[in-house]
């Protein structure tokens, strides 16, 4: 039953992987610089690593917005957010998982009578606006840098493009890592307060309760990338690369930096140490940051016509998505509680630590499942990488043989 409650979060993770992976690898795959298979493997590994190693930062902020204290509530919120994302995508409306989950949490707060912390809410909304703006600033700076390097280094076009290709793979991996670190909060954030799993000790490293949930969420995102992101990467991704290949690299890099910034506790701590204010660790929409980056490059290149329609759509997304998701969450919680008689949460005193006795008991079983799942993934992953390596080698050898045969026959 406990696992069933997680399915809505996993579904949300799957749709995030299917849609948002194109933001990091779409340009590389769309331009045929990197094959989809290679991109999917790299993105899947990086997204899981990002989620497990650095997912706590942004999730903490969501927890401050609303600490969902019953698993029924977490399930309903993730489902409401997932349905909002699905419906808005279906009607081709701009949507962000981040905004959907924030709206759903506010809906839960309203339903259970919990207080929505205005400070946290302001911080989150400010980040939605500053994310694309920062993306634009980073994109302009990086673009200027790359242009300068290109002109002064006088590299052969083939070498420059091969550096770009390597850069796109590294930036894509960094982007996927940042996406996992930042956006895992959307997928699993609402489940954290309701779950208390037993720590898994794998000798080399151990996984806390939150990390186990992040791992599950990360796997769901990876499955989304592998199963459904191909078409999105090849179509939506190629729209991004209508810029040049160096602009595509800049866009991915700038977006990754923004996502990394808003999820890195380490970076935030460094700023505090040198006397600056900490970075708000908030999940931001990768799609909206990408649009900011593209507009930044357009501005640098002296584009006269900024696509105001696109900007309007983003602004509309800031309001429409949380409102729709919040209303949906509110009514869904009402049905869950009064019709299905499922506990969806209760009012807690402000600032109280999270607690849920039920999840603690069930946690032991789930921890075992996660442990075996992790081992299975490691073994399957190693086999897959080896298979891929030998497949590539065979393909190259066959091609060389056919080429030699052609010239032999021609003689």
């Amino acid at each position: 039953m406990i696992l069933f409650f997680l399915t809505s979060g996993l579904f949300l993770g799957w749709s995030l992987g299917a849609n948002d992976a194109s933001n990091v690898f779409g340009s590389a795959v769309g331009s045929k610089m990197v094959s989809f298979r290679k991109a999917a493997i790299i993105a899947s590994i990086a997204v899981i690593l990002g989620a497990v190693l650095q997912g706590a930062g942004a999730s903490g902020t969501l927890g401050k917005l609303g600490s969902v204290n019953a698993i029924g509530g977490s399930f309903t919120l993730a489902l409401a957010a997932a349905v909002t994302v699905y419906m808005m995508t279906k009607f081709s409306l701009p949507v962000s998982t981040t905004q959907a989950i924030v709206g759903a949490i506010i809906g839960w707060n309203l339903f259970t009578g919990n207080r929505t912390d205005p400070g946290t809410l302001t911080k989150i909304i400010a980040t939605w606006i500053s994310g694309p703006v920062l993306g634009a600033v980073f994109a302009i700076l990086l673009y200027m840098l790359i242009k300068k390097i290109k002109k002064s280094a006088k590299l052969h076009l083939v070498i420059f493009e091969s550096y770009l290709k390597t850069g796109l793979i590294i930036a894509g991996a960094f982007g996927a890592y940042s996406l996992g670190a930042n956006n895992i909060a959307n997928v699993m954030g609402v489940f954290l307060p309701a779950f208390s799993l037993q720590e898994i000790d794998l000798r080399l490293f151990s996984l806390s309760s939150d990390q186990q949930l992040f791992l599950l969420g990360g796997i769901a995102i990876a499955v989304g990338i592998i199963t459904y992101s191909r078409r999105v990467m090849e179509t939506v991704g190629s729209n991004i690369v209508e810029l040049t290949s160096e602009a595509a690299l800049v866009v991915v890099l700038a977006q990754s930096l923004v996502l990394f910034m808003f999820s890195s506790t380490g970076l935030s701590d460094i700023l505090v140490k040198i006397g600056l204010s900490p970075i708000p660790l908030v999940p931001v929409s990768s799609s909206q940051v990408i649009v900011g980056c593209v507009i930044g490059i357009g501005l640098y290149k002296g584009a006269r016509n900024i696509n105001f329609r696109l900007l309007g759509e983003i602004c509309m997304g800031w309001f429409a998505t949380p409102v729709i998701s919040g209303l949906l969450a509110f009514f869904s919680l009402f049905f869950m509680k009064n019709i299905f008689n499922i506990e969806v949460g209760y009012k807690t005193a402000y600032g109280m630590p999270r607690a849920d006795a039920m999840a603690g008991i069930a946690g032991e079983g789930i921890s075992h499942i996660i442990k075996y799942l992790l081992l299975g993934i490691l073994i399957a992953g190693s086999i897959l990488i080896l298979y891929y390596y030998f497949l590539e080698r065979k393909k190259t050898r066959e091609l060389r043989a056919s080429e030699e045969k052609f010239w032999r026959n021609l003689k």
Binding site: L155, H156, L157, V158, E161
Partner: protein, 216 residues
């Protein structure tokens, strides 16, 4: 990563080798025409054989470059343009080979008074093709210099046109001693030589567009 670097370096070497072949082909063409006009048939046959080998090499390199670009996903955004450029350059060395072959098969009788003009025509036409090669090389290393390098191609092409027009005018208006069939044959040979500069101009137009595209 080592394999990746090796592939890239191999491709660069092959592109350079291809350009070398075309450049050498034009040089040999010039010498070939000169030796034919000087009636040194042994040298002419040697040059013909050399051009034949260079054209074969260029064809092989062209195929290898295109294959490598596709199989290793090199230059995905410029691949189409680079392939077209190499096709156009290959057309030049093809024209060089076919021109020398036509001369070798048909053995046109060149009146002595036209010797100097024909050598000059072959020189200017070959110059036009030769000036294209540095511009094509610059596309890969310093694309902002391509257009200034192409100016010489256009200059030599127009010079070739002028020389060709003057020779034809002379043949058809002034040389009453040769018959119409002979005149037509000469026109045909002149057209073949002139064709090299026309091909160079076609490639220059393409390269000029490519240079703008890469700088944007």
């Amino acid at each position: 990563m080592a394999l990746f670097t090796r592939t890239t370096k191999n491709l660069i070497l092959k592109i350079d080798e291809f350009f070398d072949n075309v450049e050498l082909g034009l040089l040999v063409f010039r010498e070939g025409v000169k030796s034919y006009i000087n009636k040194d048939m042994e040298a002419f046959e040697r040059h013909l054989f050399k051009v034949d080998t260079l054209e074969g090499n260029a064809d092989k390199l062209q195929r290898e470059i295109e294959n490598e670009m596709i199989t290793h996903s090199i230059l995905p955004q410029h691949r189409e343009d680079v392939t077209r450029l190499i096709d156009e350059l290959d057309e030049i060395i093809d024209t060089v080979k076919s021109s020398l072959n036509e001369i070798s098969i048909e053995m046109p009788e060149i009146p002595d008074v036209l010797n100097k003009d024909l050598v000059s025509l072959a020189n200017t036409s070959a110059n036009s093709g030769e000036e294209l090669i540095p511009a094509a090389r610059a596309y890969f290393k310093a694309p902002y210099t391509v257009r200034e390098k192409l100016l010489k191609v256009y200059y030599f092409e127009s010079e070739t046109d002028k020389i060709s027009r003057n020779i034809r005018k002379r043949v058809f208006r002034e040389m009453k001693e040769i018959d119409l069939a002979h005149k037509n044959h000469l026109r045909y040979i002149i057209h073949h030589i002139e064709n090299i500069s026309d091909q160079a101009q076609k490639a220059a137009d393409l390269l000029s567009g490519m240079a703008i595209k890469i700088l944007l």
